[in-house]
């Protein structure tokens, strides 16, 4: 139980946004979050609320406007890139990924931080790759090129790649975009299984609030430039979901945790 409640990724007084010349544009400010080991946290908010910006900043891919991100107590920007690569992996959307790669090659690239300059895979690397492929149920597709995969399968392959990287923390940006309800649910149940069984710390953005309410251990709600972290139950009771959308069109039913259109 010593690991229980161990905080792996946290931020203090973090403000994220981007710089437009000299002008700083802050999208989300004063974020104080903490992600515990073995939990699935989902980040929700309306389109353009800054979910992806916050996620990229947490991954160290973008500099914060102010404040800092701590990966196991060390500021992320001071960490050496190769050390960071063994502690934090990402699943991103809209990247220019070579679709010539087969699933196996894609997943194997997750082992890059561990291989020598030749990139040769050791037996241990191969075990991690196969485990990742098994966990995402891609055995049958492992020699298929990515351009021949469906969106859902490709998303699973990207998750497998992050698993192969064998990091404590996995950050995912909209892993269920363009997927139907069945695949959305299966991706999130996969993430939940991974978080609980392999004791990974997972943060994923989503705009499908109803779905992730039942799936997440904790949630981070981005609303009006502020971030609130709590359990789904407490957040529901706090009434924050009612305020997310202009209430003349969409309302939220606390009893069954569903949105409805007025």
């Amino acid at each position: 139980m010593s690991d229980f409640n161990k905080i792996l990724l946290s931020s203090s007084k973090l403000s994220v946004g981007y710089k437009n010349g000299q002008e700083k544009i802050i999208i989300v400010e004063d974020v104080n979050l903490s992600l515990k080991k073995g939990t699935l946290t989902t980040m929700v908010g309306i389109n353009g609320s800054g979910k992806s910006t916050l996620l990229r900043t947490l991954a160290g891919l973008q500099n914060p406007i102010s404040g800092e991100v701590l990966l196991e107590k060390s500021p992320i920007k001071t960490l050496d890139a190769e050390i960071k690569a063994k502690q934090l992996s990402v699943v991103l959307t809209g990247q220019y990924i070579s679709k010539n790669l087969t699933v196996l090659e894609l997943v194997a690239l997750g082992r890059q931080p561990y291989t020598n300059w030749l990139g040769k895979l050791s037996e241990e690397d191969k075990v991690h790759i196969l485990n990742a492929i098994n966990a995402t149920e891609l055995e049958a597709l492992k020699n298929t090129a990515c351009h021949a995969l469906s969106d859902g399968q490709f998303q699973r392959a990207l998750i497998a790649r992050a698993l192969a990287q064998n990091t404590e923390v996995i950050l995912l940006d909209e892993p269920t975009t363009h997927l139907d309800l069945h695949h959305k649910a299966s991706i999130f149940s996969l993430l939940k299984t991974i978080a609980h069984e392999q004791q990974k710390t997972i943060l994923s953005t989503s705009h499908d609030i109803e779905l992730v309410l039942g799936m997440s251990d904790e949630m981070l709600v981005i609303h009006n430039g502020k971030a609130t972290q709590d359990t789904p139950k407490n957040l529901t009771e706090s009434g924050i979901f009612e305020q997310l959308f202009p209430d003349n069109i969409i309302g939220f039913n606390k009893e069954n945790q569903r949105f409805f259109i007025r």
Binding site: A81, E82, Q112, G119
Partner: protein
């Protein structure tokens, strides 16, 4: 490739028996002196230049396609060949306009120097811009813009030049593997090996770049460093080759695609050596065609590479319907 190398040496405008060639290579002095000269000082350097040109441009093209994540990228997208053209154009065409004679430097060294300076100048500008631009796509477009810009300057120069100089410039732009001396070959191979060593040193980073810049970063790759090495390696390879043999079209663009289709691989540890071999083979083959013994003269190598290469890529595209980087 060794077979092609021998065939390449064996064929040419002057027919030399294979036996005599072997004797010459083994250092036998009893063979006709003219033949010795043709083989040792013309055909062997030419064949070696063909190997270096083909493999160097193919590797440079592969790196550019991966770096820019664009199947249309080639070794010359950064404006290398247009820079070299500009240098040569200034040297040959600008001569009369600037009151300088193009014949000051003998033996074509002037052209080589001008081409090197030109490609180096354009590249320095592109590299300077590259350090300020973070987006690879923007860099690609900047390279293309520099290409158009230099092409425009060249055409202005051409407009004011006498026909004789224009012809000389045209001959350079046809590309030629034949005009290379052993001295030049040594300088070229020095640049070639430096470029190749740099290229192979970033092979692992190239593999992670297949996932895109963000993923590569989270895999521990230093984007700026890798990108810089890739650009430098490409510049050295394409720049020196263009300076010595002229702008050779097509090889750099087509060979990586042919190799990818052939091996159906994405791993650069497979692709890089395959490109070295494939580029060398294609270039030797094209050069052999260019100097077919039936002709009294050699055809411009640049035309041959395109005549051979373009239909092959078109055929591949029609068959596969898709060209991915």
């Amino acid at each position: 490739m060794i077979l092609l190398f021998v065939v390449n040496i064996a064929l040419g405008s002057v027919l030399i028996p294979l036996k005599a060639i072997i004797q010459i290579i083994l250092g036998d002095d009893s063979v006709k002196e003219a033949w010795q000269y043709i083989i040792l000082d013309y055909r062997i350097p030419k064949a070696l230049a063909a190997i270096m040109t083909g493999s160097g441009l193919a590797v440079a093209g592969l790196m550019m396609q991966t770096l820019f994540k664009n199947p249309l990228a080639g070794p010359f997208v950064l404006g290398i060949s247009s820079g070299a053209s500009l240098g040569v154009a200034f040297f040959i065409l600008g001569g009369s306009a600037l009151g300088l004679s193009a014949f000051v430097v003998p033996n074509g060294w002037g052209t080589i120097l001008a081409a090197s300076l030109g490609s180096f100048a354009v590249l320095s500008i592109v590299l300077l811009v590259a350090s300020r631009v973070r987006d690879a796509m923007a860099l690609l477009i900047i390279g293309l813009m520099f290409g158009s810009l230099t092409a425009a300057v060249v055409s202005i120069l051409a407009y004011f030049s006498p026909a004789e100089e224009l012809q000389r410039y045209m001959f350079w732009s046809f590309g030629s593997l034949g005009d290379i001396s052993w001295d030049a070959l040594i300088i070229l191979s020095f640049c070639y090996f430096i470029g190749m060593i740099l290229a192979f040193s970033v092979t692992k980073s190239l593999n992670s770049l297949l996932l895109g810049d963000h993923y590569a970063q989270t895999l521990g790759v230093s984007l700026q460093k890798s990108r810089f090495i890739i650009l430098i390696a490409t510049s050295i390879l394409a720049g020196s080759l263009t300076a010595f043999v002229g702008p050779i079209a097509f090889v750099g663009l087509a060979v990586p695609h042919l190799i990818r289709q052939w091996f159906t691989a994405s791993n650069h540890w497979t692709l890089m050596p395959a490109c070295v071999l494939g580029g060398a083979v294609l270039m030797l083959f094209c050069d052999t065609l260019a100097q077919m013994p039936l002709f009294e003269f050699s055809l411009p190598i640049n035309a041959i590479t395109s005549i051979i290469g373009a239909p092959v890529v078109i055929w591949l595209l029609i068959r596969k319907k898709k060209l991915l980087f």
